[in-house]
Symmetry: D2
Subunit: 361 residues, 4 copies
């Protein structure tokens, strides 16, 4: 059934396959009067775009986004915004050899079983290319959040393979193709990627998303909790296998007296909670981590079956990233921005104008 | 805005505060003709119920669930099922001392800021007591999944503090109050809990949920993915700070050639993916892990502020679990069962009767 | 699938059958801080309640509503509000004779075909008794609309059989058991009802709902239009077969030059549109009409089939209204109030704080 | 907030303004394996298209629809279907004179008040041109309904001004530009339209939609009733002011003994109910009527105000239909088809495979 939408008040619905005519999405529920241009979206699309550095795939996808509706004289009208990116560099030939077999670690098998009839070109709908539209939609959310509330949603690479990154210098993040916040780790990352390319293999990664200036009070108490919606949004990114809020899995071995963030008149003393208590934002930085698996698009031969159930070999030729985690940085930002946007508008629906003791959003 | 529902085709909406008159929920979308009785639900409610062992809180909540509608002559009618549990052992006096102050690590502060007006008795809506209704609703889903598809959703304690549990003997799980699948770890767990009680402190935990016999094909490809919905459902449980599917955070340091699950005519060779590929179930066991924080309801004094912003001390008296993770076992099962139920019905909506090459659900 | 909810931001979900233990509903999304008591709801419940005059059924249903959650110290908390009404005067014996046959004009046949297994006692879920919960939920919406925006939603009987009512004196409406706004028609209505009782037959009715002080700007432009949502809400009331907004079916023979409501600096010159243009409220009174069929619960014998497909006679004994339209007055008000409440909160979500040229809600 | 979608399991979301770059929509939830081509959609688009006869506007809009995704090798894949129609004949000059004033009877005023910032070119989002995408999406639903269930959804003109049409000859409907099922009324309709053109005025219309072969059991019992969803869908069409199911407003003066449709072993004896009982399809023809107002796009001068609140005159130049009701025929069919499609898939979700006494869908 329908399953290509995220958000309730601010809702993004996407369409498009890797090698179809175009990708597109509808952004529904954006407030009117927001100044926005295609260039605002292009910045993040370019950050996600492959072919921009030697560390990512050399496919060239210009990813030029176009507004088809919802923006008039440079401002949103409040009606639904239609966006498209035409697919130009499709080269479906590269994929023809795997049309009849299921690449292990990919969605080929599950799509085939679910739908019977699938677009096998480049992964079709399961291709990471679909995330371009999430980034485009997220850029609209990011602009609104920044302009109206001063909220910034940013992401960085916090680990790749065994290269852990602990020092966070935000100024560094956009200075290198790894979105790495620690300059001293760039060489290790470079070496790791070069070794993987030689081997034809790939590696996983961990990303950290931080949203600051988020007002207190976002999130519903039981089911549409802010942490649950962030987990949903991040786990929904291709290749993600784990999501943490705040201290995440470290809490297993923490004591209550250590984990709880004490309050003082000046604010919280710590942020083990990652900015969310009882599913509701606390006014602290929202901090989330995500783990991305190593892509299965590798040249190391693997065993699989074809549509007739026979054993066959598979090698994914073509141009692929050794670490898809890198390019997920703008996607993770976009997803968290979409969730925050939705919750901000939701919060405003319920609370504005009713009680006066709470700071208004 | 509305935020107390989970599911789209099979939808559960809950209400009720810890110390109000009653908890309740509406289960909407259950197929007609399912044989069900209150006793079917009581089994899981009793597994969640506090006061059943010396390791959990000594509050006694009989948690007797009652069908108010939707079941006629022992079978579901297909219309909405109303459920209630009356609150009997309320003792609101215990909580009166913390009405004006925000317990660190609890949702007191965020509720106060969000709503202005909050029910402070026992955490009100943020109390884990609310999860009783999730367990009740989940029991209906579990019965349907088991009966119609042979699906079982089970959960066990996989870590508490530094006590890790690797051996999984399902027969053990229900034999001890920890839901621990390894008999050899029971003594260590017992010691840990006793030490914490003495200290008045608490500890985190890790749980593992496994669903077997899940048909291939459940989950939508982009946003309503099965993994994303499981992440949403589990992160929405009180105290959860992290969720993993399959290998989870271990993927960060895996190679693609190692992570991908190869296929043979007999099936997959491994299950690093945790039974989900591209957001869609693969027919393997669904495996998910969750991390639960140590409860902040401890007697170790902490620093906080009151509603006037002044520094005050806080000690949570009352009867609390040193490890809330234990009682989350049936809750985690219920949440995953609700998600699977919703996706099974969704899948049936879209796919039945159209293409014939795919195994029908 | 799930289908017992109305509204998106302010959402009402109901449960309960005519002769089950209780009726209930969850009102989710109500802003916090609204002063509300059970007595506020009882007023409308009593207006809907049967047995209050000789013109309606003599069944006695005290319909005492109880808050189970969501209200604390006399004010809404912002969390989900649980409501129940226990069924006391059930007398299921009255209905036992029709358990195996399908009353013509009732939902017996369609429920049986849809669900296979149905609660036949008093119509089960299809009973008009279910609307008590809509009235209770609507009363919460009405109180909020009145208090925060001065909006009033009122309804009157505008026709019964061939007795048309053109004069609208709002002060009269609550003075007589017909909700008739024209005192001079009371005698004709009384005669009609008495004649029907003698014949054991029933009659249809037309109601008119008016909402005033509705701010301009409510409603979404394409699908969640205010007029479409009102049509949905009113057509969803038992027995309703037609809905009009503004001039309704009269527009078929109107000219454009006659229908369009011209604007002057003082406001609109007329209100043919019924307060809605392009799906969005214009700031004028919202005016809608609805047509209710004559109930099929009559003593005039009718022909039908039983569950085995054999021809049988049916007479609906029991205590029934000759004109169910009368009691639908508070239901129609409730439904329109729920729709307006939802749209007010929705509007606030999208628009508040963004553009400054538009009057704020 | 988000408000450009219809349907839950089969969901259509549209975007696009009258004079923007393109119109588009996403059809989400269509089952896989349905053979479909752009030509299948074009048939209905051409029926809706202006400029095809002398009775409708002479604007020429080729309305060529293009699949951007979701269809592969001539069959739906089960993923979201992206559709666009580029706007070619825009002529925004025609509308420039009315940019600063509110055309009476149009949505100019309400859009301005709601959004502050509106696309005034040709009505922007409120233009009937938006309905092209509903027709395109509806054509997909129609094809599926026809192919899988033999369901046909058809519509005809049942009244225009004072020309009533009682004889229904389905073979006639597509033979004349009025979609009139009675050949003997063509001359009267021709005269009426010619008179209106001379006067520069417009007229309302009544349409009747009939769906046959609809299985019994579609529709949810309380809120997502089939009749309520049809009312929502039809009232949501531009210019519609009234909707009836079955006998509609005639029920006001019917007796219960006359209205109820008696059952015999061979089926129902009559169809006053219009194929829906208790919100659920009865297996009879679904019959609904809708009333469309006369368009306000006329050359008869009218009084209005401009954005500064000053009195001004307004004349709608340009190329407009004297009776917009005519072109709404394929739109009404599309909307009912979308509703039926959604309910068929919903019904399948809940009911398949559970109880065996009910005919399966």
């Amino acid at each position: 059934m329908a399953g290509n939408s995220i958000g309730q008040v601010f809702r993004v619905t996407t369409f498009g396959e890797s090698h179809g005519l175009a990708l597109g999405c509808i952004v529904d529920g954006c407030p009117p009067g927001l100044e926005i241009s295609e260039a605002d979206l292009q910045v993040d699309l370019d950050r996600r775009r492959p072919g921009t550095s030697k560390y990512t795939t050399q496919r060239r996808e210009p990813d030029e986004v176009k507004f088809l509706s919802g923006v008039f004289e440079g401002k949103t009208t409040g009606t639904s915004i239609g966006l498209v990116i035409e697919n130009t560099d499709q080269r479906s030939k590269d994929y023809s050899k795997i049309a009849d077999r299921f690449r292990p670690g990919h969605a080929d098998y599950t799509y085939h079983q679910k739908y019977g009839h699938r677009d096998y070109r480049g992964g079709g709908r399961s291709s990471a290319r679909e995330t371009a539209m999430r980034v485009a939609a997220g850029a609209i959310a990011k602009k609104y959040l920044k302009q109206e509330f001063g909220i910034e949603v940013r992401c960085y690479l916090s680990q790749m393979g065994d290269v852990t990154i602990d020092k966070v210098d935000w100024d560094q993040v956009e200075q290198n193709p790894f979105f790495c916040p620690d300059e001293s780790k760039l060489e290790a990352l470079d070496e790791l990627i070069r070794a993987l390319k030689k081997e034809g293999d790939s590696i996983g990664a961990k990303l950290t998303v931080v949203a600051n200036n988020v007002p207190v009070g976002l999130g519903e108490p039981v089911f549409d909790r802010l942490d649950a919606d962030i987990a949903y949004a991040l786990m929904g990114i291709n290749a993600v296998k784990g999501v943490e809020v705040g201290d995440g899995f470290d809490v297993i071995n923490q004591r209550g007296s250590e984990h709880r963030d004490e309050l003082t008149p000046e604010g919280f003393k710590s942020n083990h909670a990652g900015g969310i208590l009882g599913g509701i934002s606390s006014g602290q930085d929202i901090v989330a981590h995500l783990a991305l698996k190593p892509t299965s698009s590798i040249t190391v031969p693997g065993e699989t079956i074809n549509v007739d159930g026979e054993t066959v070999d598979v090698i994914t030729k073509g141009r692929h990233d050794p670490c898809v985690g890198i390019r997920a940085v703008p996607i993770a930002e976009a997803m968290v921005a979409i969730v925050l946007m939705d919750h901000l508008l939701r919060h405003r629906a319920q609370n504005a104008g009713v009680h006066t003791t709470t700071p208004k959003i």
